[in-house]
């Protein structure tokens, strides 16, 4: 459907993807109305620092904003903050709002993001039990992260481990509980897991893998301990839950927009309703470099899909779909990830993990599909390019540090 004469664009969700869509629409010359509805109170902001510098108290809130609040006013983007979209009526092309109003649209972008998976056990709603997704979550958590206190972090994914690093640097007594036999089990290889386990151990963080949490115990409504299914009790002043996220797809699903592990979209970020687009954590998209669909949870993905949706609405050529990438900062360890390693059949280590500067490459049928680069930007930058071109790279060259990444890039076919 040609939407290039659209005059009313509504964006639901003012996170990374929604904000990017608004920037790209204006940059692309769109002059009609843009209304962005978001149930949070701050103007669109970056989430990555919430488990890093901002949690540590090193950044003022304004430094999280993508643009100063005035930008939206100056550029005719109406920000409806503290407002929820409650229903989409596709027949009348209207979005219903929590205060009773409605917005009409010619094109609609769903950028509703995701929410933390709730902890399905007794005691999860006690005071002192936190999650980490929004500015408000940090506003609640940060004043409690006082040196000497005991924090139990449930879930050893990137967010849980980043929070563990910050908490230990702030002088808390940190225990991380992970159900799987190793940290980061869902997202990376045993080599990387072992590296991070050692890194955290060095900083005094206690990591307990294979730990089943059976309940949280409290007194006077406040958490006091985490109870394992072995009966063991770990005293806790604070609990942080980071066990993954769920895509916010209900609004779309209830309106009959096709969903399956996210709102289903094509390469233009378009759903099965040609006037409705979805971008970011909430969308399940074609992963062109991997020949399948999937839902990604990253800044790069949110930005790229925001751009794709804007371009499709304006009838512009489709922007490049780049290799997916991600980063994580823990202590002074900078991890950059290119590609998606799921399903690799060969793993190549380049450099020495002990030196805290190394990379792990993942291949499938000889083709490079992902790389984890620890304090190793060249490996990351080259892998990103090689993955995009589905390059075949000889494993023995990848592991040979006497051959530079520049040479490897030049030779790859």
């Amino acid at each position: 459907m040609d939407l290039s004469s659209a005059q009313k664009i509504v964006i639901i969700g003012g996170g990374q993807a929604g904000a990017q869509a608004s920037f790209s629409l204006r940059q692309g010359g769109y002059e009609g109305a843009i209304t962005m509805v978001c149930d949070e109170h701050a103007p669109p902001y970056q989430r990555p620092p919430l488990s890093k510098a901002f949690l540590k108290g090193e950044l003022p809130e304004e430094r999280l904003y993508f643009k100063p609040a005035a930008w939206y006013e100056d550029n005719g983007v109406e920000l409806m903050l503290g407002m929820r979209a409650t229903k989409i009526d596709r027949a009348t092309r209207q979005v219903h709002l929590s205060h009773g109003g409605v917005l009409e649209y010619d094109a609609l972008i769903l950028a509703t993001g995701s929410r933390p998976r709730p902890l399905p056990i007794e005691g999860a709603s006690l005071a002192g039990v936190h999650e980490l997704r929004s500015l408000e979550d940090v506003e609640r958590l940060a004043p409690q992260t006082i040196a000497g206190r005991r924090i139990v972090i449930v879930g050893a994914g990137y967010i849980g481990l980043e929070a563990a690093a910050v908490a230990s640097q702030l002088g808390l007594d940190v225990t991380v509980l992970e159900m799987a036999p190793r940290v980061l089990a869902r997202v990376t290889s045993p080599v990387m897991a072992e590296f991070y386990e050692a890194e955290h151990a060095r900083h005094g963080v206690k990591i307990r893998c294979g730990a089943g949490l059976s309940a949280l115990k409290g007194e006077d409504g406040k958490v006091t301990a985490a109870v394992l299914n072995t009966g063991e009790e770990l005293p806790a002043d604070l609990v942080l839950v980071g066990i993954g996220i769920l895509p916010n797809q209900e609004l779309a699903a209830e309106a009959g927009v096709a969903c399956e592990n996210g709102i289903l979209v094509d390469r233009d970020a378009r759903t099965n309703d040609p006037r409705i687009f979805a971008a970011g954590d909430c969308a399940c998209r074609p992963l062109v470099h991997f020949g399948r669909t999937g839902r990604l949870e990253s800044v790069h993905n949110a930005i790229e899909q925001g751009k794709l949706a804007a371009a499709a609405i304006l009838g512009k050529p489709r922007p490049a779909e780049d290799t997916p990438w991600f980063w994580s900062d823990q202590y002074d360890v900078k991890l950059q990830i290119a590609g998606i390693g799921t399903g690799y059949d060969q793993l190549v280590v380049r450099g020495d993990p002990e030196a805290r500067k190394f990379a792990v490459f993942y291949l499938k049928g000889g083709v490079l599909i992902a790389a984890d680069a620890v304090n190793s930007a060249p490996e990351f930058m080259v892998a990103k390019k090689l993955i995009a071109s589905a390059a075949v790279v000889a494993p023995e060259r990848l592991s040979d540090t006497s051959i530079s990444m520049k040479e490897i890039a030049a030779e790859a076919v």
Binding site: P48, W327, P378
Partner: protein
């Protein structure tokens, strides 16, 4: 406040007042300067905040640290005046700093 001048690839010049301690990237974002995307928000992980520093300021902005240098080594259209603007904190010394944004970031 310190004056920073952003020039885009077409030669359009935008002059803004920067706060000491914030980076040249953040100053650009705050002031809506086009041509600096800063996808990673200053984590030195994306190289979309690449700028060319005016030769007369190269010494004052100092030399990049290892991580930034490695990112630059593999970024597009890099010259000897290339820097990642998220790694340049604004200081009094940088009064009048001029940086040019690459065409690819527009």
């Amino acid at each position: 406040m310190v004056k920073i001048i952003y020039r885009d690839f077409e030669g359009t010049v935008r002059e803004v007042e920067a706060k000491v301690g914030e980076t040249v990237m953040e100053t650009a974002i705050k002031n809506g300067i086009p041509g600096i995307d800063a996808d990673c928000g200053g984590a030195c992980a994306c190289a979309t905040c690449h700028v060319y520093v005016d030769p007369s300021f190269m010494e004052k902005v100092g030399t990049p640290e290892d991580m930034e240098q490695s990112m630059l080594d593999f970024a597009e259209n890099v010259t000897e005046n290339s820097r990642l603007s998220c790694q340049i904190p604004v200081s009094e010394d940088l009064e009048g700093l001029t940086v040019t944004t690459p065409e690819a970031q527009h």
